[in-house]
């Protein structure tokens, strides 16, 4: 197991390098610098000085290595737009919010998705199944920004049950709309895979044995069937995490949550390159880390899985 972990971590390094290179190349190949604003046109000498300060006049290789070196030491450089702040400070301010929202969304996905999938499988081909499958289809078809706008319109604008946006921490009612908007699609993905896997499990002999022994229906499902049906969930988790991360871009923008998703959007529209680079790297790290964690939990959950 330890060897597997080391191998996975080693494999993650080239992926990170490639993501970094790709993001670096794309961002530096994009014409137009951050100081091309026509608002307050800068004198050529000022631009030259700024470029020298940010090492933008150095050959690309040098910039590549320099940024990477700095990043590994924890300094991600100053933002071009908010020049008084270092990117790492901004990220440190926004990141916890996104982490909390992401965790809440994952929790929502689990709390809603697992019962949904279980009910659909247990009451297969009845009204319950059709209703659940209907919800699943809605989840596949409705993108998270559509969901967010619909939720905000219905619950905030029309019903006034919640404010339209903002962030006051996890325990405030404002978290409900973004959490649901981000978590809905993962919930339905989870429900879909769980239904299929549970249907397979329920046909197995050991379930029949348990029922023949006279165990109550619910107990059979929870203790025997679910534990085995849950392992495919680990496979789906990669998709879930990617969904939550990309979902945060739109939902945080719509509901005005101050997280790194919204920061990514503002950096994209404002062409703030260091921020874009740093955030792209950050997202890649998050996804890769989550995938490794999920793979490890997969090994823990299913004793038949052995990693050499």
């Amino acid at each position: 197991m330890g060897a597997y972990l080391v191998r996975r971590l080693l494999l993650a390094v080239p992926t990170m390098v490639i993501v970094y290179t790709l993001a670096f190349v794309l961002i530096h190949a994009t014409p137009g610098g951050p100081w091309d604003n026509a608002e307050k046109p800068l004198a050529p000498q000022v631009i030259a000085n700024l470029k020298a300060k940010y090492h933008m006049d150095a050959p690309l290789w040098t910039q590549y290595a320099l940024y990477l070196g700095n990043a590994l030491h924890g300094s991600l450089g100053p933002s071009y737009v908010n020049t008084s702040q270092d990117v790492s400070d901004i990220i440190a301010a926004f990141f916890p919010v996104s982490m909390q929202l992401g965790a809440a969304a994952m929790l929502f996905a689990i709390v809603v998705g697992i019962p949904l999938g279980t009910l659909a499988a247990v009451y297969r081909n009845t009204v319950v199944d059709y209703a659940a499958t209907g919800i699943v289809v809605l989840g596949i078809s409705i993108p998270n920004y559509v969901m967010a706008t619909l939720l905000v319109t219905i619950f905030a604008v029309v019903l006034h049950w919640v404010p339209t946006g903002g962030w006051r921490g996890l325990l405030d009612v404002r978290v409900l709309i973004p959490m649901t908007a981000i978590g809905f699609r993962p919930a339905t993905t989870l429900a879909r895979y769980l239904r299929t896997s549970l249907l397979e499990v329920l046909h197995q002999d050991y379930i029949r044995t348990a029922r023949a022994k006279g165990l109550a229906g619910a107990r059979v499902i929870v203790r025997h069937a679910l534990r085995n049906a849950l392992t495919p969930i680990a496979t789906v988790s990669g998709i879930l995490v990617a969904d939550v991360v990309t979902g945060s871009f739109f939902v945080e923008t719509i509901t005005r949550v101050p997280g790194i998703g919204r920061y990514f959007v503002t950096a994209t529209t404002g062409r703030d390159y260091p921020v874009l680079l740093a955030l792209a790297l950050l997202f890649a790290i998050i996804i890769i880390t989550m995938n490794i964690l999920v793979d490890l939990s997969y090994a823990l959950l299913d004793p038949q899985v052995r990693y050499g």
Binding site: P14, T15, I18, V19, L22, A23, L26, I27, A29, T30, P31, G32, V137, L138, I140, S141, I142, P143, Y145, V146, T149, L150, V152, T153, A156, V157, V158, T164, T196, L199, A242, V245, T246, F249, F250, T253, I254, V265, T268, T269, R271, L276, A280, F283, A284, I287, I288, N291
Partner: protein, 285 residues
């Protein structure tokens, strides 16, 4: 359900194609005296912040979404399927290389890559003044930014198609009918085209019907972020973004494109499910 979905889709597609005859107004005709207008006889869905007729913009938005979805799917198939077939059948270093690339790109969320690519394209294309690629910029201008979107979506999307095609090819490569054909003297190319290709078509069709909604969602998402179609060309995603600012006073501006987008995606999924039920008897129901 699939029939209902297909019918709705046909309506959307036809509306988009016939946009110029069907829509009551041009999509960029502003009527600054009637901004945020409620639906009435002249403007069946009301008007937006600049007085443009909402219904017309929805209709033209249909054209954008459909063309992005279909064009991207077409490109992705025509590039991904031959590559996957070749990799699966001939193997070797080409196959290894392809798989490494797929693994690496797979680790990164699709939307993130597409956003990065689009950031590059939207800035890069206008700066091409001469050289072999200048037609790309004109094409992009002419289509209101759609060409760049299709390019970005296809550039990342073909890898998944190649992966599936390769998997299917690997499954069939050693089957008896391939051996029979080869022992009868068929050339490699003939085997691939005449024997393998028709047999991998079914899962690929299913995959395509699920790819089109992904592309449409991505395009709407890009337009929402300001990286998609260039205003005034309407796109449902762009309309949602424009409407978000006024969501508290005029939710209709957001609801209309959101509902139309959701309905289109729903019908695409119904059609996809229906196709899958018809073509793949082993799928569980």
């Amino acid at each position: 359900m699939a029939v209902v979905g297909a019918a709705f889709l046909a309506v959307v597609a036809l509306t988009g194609a016939a946009a110029q005859t069907l829509s009551p107004y041009r999509y960029d005709k502003q009527d600054l005296l009637t901004t945020y207008g409620s639906p009435d006889a002249r403007h069946l869905a009301g008007t937006d912040a600049l007085g443009r007729d909402l219904l017309s913009r929805l209709i033209y938005g249909a054209r954008v979404s459909m063309s992005v979805g279909l064009a991207s799917a077409a490109i992705v198939l025509s590039v991904g399927v031959p590559t996957g077939l070749a990799a699966g059948y001939f193997g070797g270093t080409f196959d290894l290389l392809l798989m490494r690339v797929v693994d690496i790109v797979y680790a990164i969320p699709y939307l993130l890559l597409v956003v990065l690519l689009q950031t590059f394209f939207t800035a890069f294309l206008p700066s091409i003044r001469s050289g072999p690629l200048v037609w790309l910029h004109s094409l992009n201008q002419a289509t209101g930014g759609v060409a760049a979107i299709i390019l970005a979506l296809s550039l990342v999307g073909w890898l998944d198609v190649a992966r599936v095609a390769r998997g299917q090819t690997l499954m069939l490569r050693h089957r008896e009918f391939v051996q029979a054909a080869k022992s009868l003297g068929a050339s490699e190319g003939h085997v691939v085209v005449t024997h393998l290709l028709p047999n991998i078509v079914a899962p690929l069709i299913i995959m395509t019907t699920l790819l089109v909604p992904t592309f449409i969602i991505a395009e709407a998402g890009l337009s929402f972020l300001g990286l998609g179609v260039q205003p005034p060309t309407p796109s449902w995603g762009l309309m949602i973004a424009e409407g978000v600012d006024a969501i508290e006073s005029y939710p209709r501006l957001v609801i209309a494109p959101a509902l139309v987008l959701a309905a289109t995606l729903l019908s695409l999924n119904f059609v996809g499910d229906g196709l899958r039920d018809a073509l793949d008897p082993s799928s569980d129901r």
